[in-house]
Symmetry: D3
Subunit: 195 residues, 6 copies
Amino acid sequence: MPRISRYPVPELADLPEDMRQRILEVQQKAGFVPNVFLALAHRPAEWRAFVAYHDALLLKDSGSLSKGEREMIIVATSAANQCLYCVVAHGAILRIYEKKPLVADQVAVNYRKADITPRQQAMLDFAMKISQRSHEVDEADFATLRGHGFDDEDIWDIGAISAFFGLSNRMANLTGMRPNDEFYLMGRLPREKKA
Amino acid sequence: MPRISRYPVPELADLPEDMRQRILEVQQKAGFVPNVFLALAHRPAEWRAFVAYHDALLLKDSGSLSKGEREMIIVATSAANQCLYCVVAHGAILRIYEKKPLVADQVAVNYRKADITPRQQAMLDFAMKISQRSHEVDEADFATLRGHGFDDEDIWDIGAISAFFGLSNRMANLTGMRPNDEFYLMGRLPREKKA
Amino acid sequence: MPRISRYPVPELADLPEDMRQRILEVQQKAGFVPNVFLALAHRPAEWRAFVAYHDALLLKDSGSLSKGEREMIIVATSAANQCLYCVVAHGAILRIYEKKPLVADQVAVNYRKADITPRQQAMLDFAMKISQRSHEVDEADFATLRGHGFDDEDIWDIGAISAFFGLSNRMANLTGMRPNDEFYLMGRLPREKKA
Amino acid sequence: MPRISRYPVPELADLPEDMRQRILEVQQKAGFVPNVFLALAHRPAEWRAFVAYHDALLLKDSGSLSKGEREMIIVATSAANQCLYCVVAHGAILRIYEKKPLVADQVAVNYRKADITPRQQAMLDFAMKISQRSHEVDEADFATLRGHGFDDEDIWDIGAISAFFGLSNRMANLTGMRPNDEFYLMGRLPREKKA
Amino acid sequence: MPRISRYPVPELADLPEDMRQRILEVQQKAGFVPNVFLALAHRPAEWRAFVAYHDALLLKDSGSLSKGEREMIIVATSAANQCLYCVVAHGAILRIYEKKPLVADQVAVNYRKADITPRQQAMLDFAMKISQRSHEVDEADFATLRGHGFDDEDIWDIGAISAFFGLSNRMANLTGMRPNDEFYLMGRLPREKKA
Amino acid sequence: MPRISRYPVPELADLPEDMRQRILEVQQKAGFVPNVFLALAHRPAEWRAFVAYHDALLLKDSGSLSKGEREMIIVATSAANQCLYCVVAHGAILRIYEKKPLVADQVAVNYRKADITPRQQAMLDFAMKISQRSHEVDEADFATLRGHGFDDEDIWDIGAISAFFGLSNRMANLTGMRPNDEFYLMGRLPREKKA
């Protein structure tokens, strides 16, 4: 079986209880343990911060960004950073949330060609700017996004998701993190009812 | 007084107790509250994850990277990302840790010209690769760093600090975060004994 | 049904006989007509040259490049050019030729992380150099490839496939060519016996 | 005499009749055999497709692009790809078609400074976008060109010429194709009446 | 004491009288001899031309650019060229002229975030365009600057200062020129009355 | 007649005597007044410094760089900066000095393909590094050049010529400087005996 990280990967059984519990929850939901949870568990303190940050951005209920839209941001920016783990894993989640089997590949290759709304295009333009040249962000960007119906808290969400997954992309590239084989097919089959 | 963020900035008194305590500790040590703690406090859940990640990377005692070397990584990569807050704030901390009033400006402008060791140059070469083109990281990078005496845990530290401050840089650019005026002069005066 | 091109798309029945025959052959083999054959048919003379060039590079039997390897070159360089049509369509063909359901996504996102041989990595390094900075090609590139067992005819093949699909990528981006929905799933299911 | 290609170059007498006829025609017109016809003849099937594509784009009579304008596109994009063969050979043809001895060097160095019309500037802006970042092409580009009097078939011509010579540039850089010495001076002398 | 240049550095006493006089003047004003005057003195003829060009741009009284604004141009463009000498030395002069201890670091890290006027932002946008992609300068740039109250002579000044310090940056990087330690602190202390 | 500069161009008769004398000398030698002398004469103090710098680098007799080699540096780096004036004017001078009618176009389009020696290739590699990323210059560059027989004074010459013409390129792009029509043909005709 191919290694999932350049670094030692702990056994689930050897992890502190809080980490183990969180991972078991994910496993129950996804049917397997996504490798990021095991690969980053090599460093428990960093793992806890990473998961807390992830949850703060992706699990919260407020704001106008749908869960699928948050995944679009992850897939588009991770493709720009050439992060195999994040494109494959979050591509799967995007397909499932959006119930659109094609959208993840479209967003990964060229989001300008994806079957998404103009509002979502504008969201991804900004996410890419944060990802690739955040030093040029200015008031005009905020005005453009407000013109598409995003408020300032939404804009923070877009920027923060792009920024956080920029960290995630770099950790995956550092560790040579390997996506689970399961992700590649998830959400691609039309009848796949409960995923 | 100039705004320190595009977003609302909470009053210290209005923050949850755990956040307030942590901020008061920093204030006691630094003599003032670094703006990042207030600007990001607009989002408490994200703030807690951010501070936990920061502490896991910068406060830990293990590994061969000195505290000054960790700050070098922050300053070099933040300059590449043109993040005003991080270059100014961590430049100050770098000067103080290294007790070298010139090193922060050198590392910020062109780390290849800085008064640092070849080992530190190699460390910054890798930090910059993680920051700017992490998708090209490969085994040869690990071999080079090992040749300079870094072990794999040190390499994780270098990469993770670069990755985490890439997130920090993007949040600072998103929020228009302003560095405290105090940072600009810190560590520049020779006799400045206790800072 | 979404448009497959910014330009008028001819009906199969309206095409000259030679074009219609060639397209029916592909349809029989694939089960559907790949959109590139219809979108480019707007210009019959260019279509004939395009298909002849394509066939000369991909259908020939000589040389040491396997059919799967030729598709790897197409997928890697088309991803660099952000060509949705070519990544999706040739990703499908790559999966089928290699009988490896994961390899196309790996090569598309970051070929340095793909489950391929060092010889294939070197092949893709050169294909990417032809694609992105062919003006820097020099004798050292030929020496590297010969060291991996490629002869000069193989090197022409690698370069010519990269160059030809650079043309294809630009035509797809010009016309806004849309990949057939069928491609996205092809070659992903383990039992998919005859595809 | 310097080699004209890294690869074996066939003798005219050894080529299949159709290729030989076509080459003799060019020789009669130009006074010599342009090296591209011999260098690419190493692969007859690819040669035939290449020449057919070339002719479909450059010899057709329809559309509003003059023959000189088509050569401008070739020279500008080939300079961006640093293709010595195409800049020198098509620079010569451009001078002759336009009867302007300076225009080729102007377009090759910086087309924004060339003695051409605003319509031709817009044409070259789009040709360069197809050449360098075709993934960003969108409806606004079409609107701009229509504003300069180009119809959609003209826009296809501009894009296809840019795309095809991107292939040609890469083949020339792959093979180290050398331009004939004759091209350098062609069309530079005012009285050169019939070229 | 660290070397100030890769090349031999003449003694003040060994220099021709005109050079010695000019350097003594600077020393009297600054309190020390800026290393650029000694490092470039290795080539007297080039030194004289360099100093004459410098003086023509920075010592002249005409035009609407203040002395501080000229230094802003130098600091912003030198940071883009990663020239340690020029950022540190002219950062000091900028602080002193503007009597603003923070402005130099702001302009060096990201001039878009600096405490400067919109007119100064536009000035730096153009200086950066001359520095990084002067081939794209066009009439629209002149119109923008005129809209901020600059006349064409001011625009020449902005462009020429950017161009001249591009030369200076490259000479400093070629020679490994080291800034005097004194520059780092100059103009940072509020009461520093006469500097 | 097309304008040679965006800025006012003085009449030869109106210039100060020293400038007029220098220009008449050039006119006598070249047969016409190169436009750079008139366009930059709009600012006499800058003109004098520019010409003095130019002469210090190009008219000196010491060092191992031939006059033709100095022109190669100018043509290669000016092409990278897309400076029409310098490529055309110095291309002409290069042809004449080297008595090789093809070399200037080769160096301008892709110096890696030019009919020059490996030593000259290494010289141009370094000139391009100074021109495009001088912040990365290090001791290894000096070692490479010494391996080709250049001493440190030669290396200064290479770097300084690249740096100075970087200034010249930017001034030409700022002023929209137009090359004299005469340059385009100079040195192209084999018998052109006395040039």
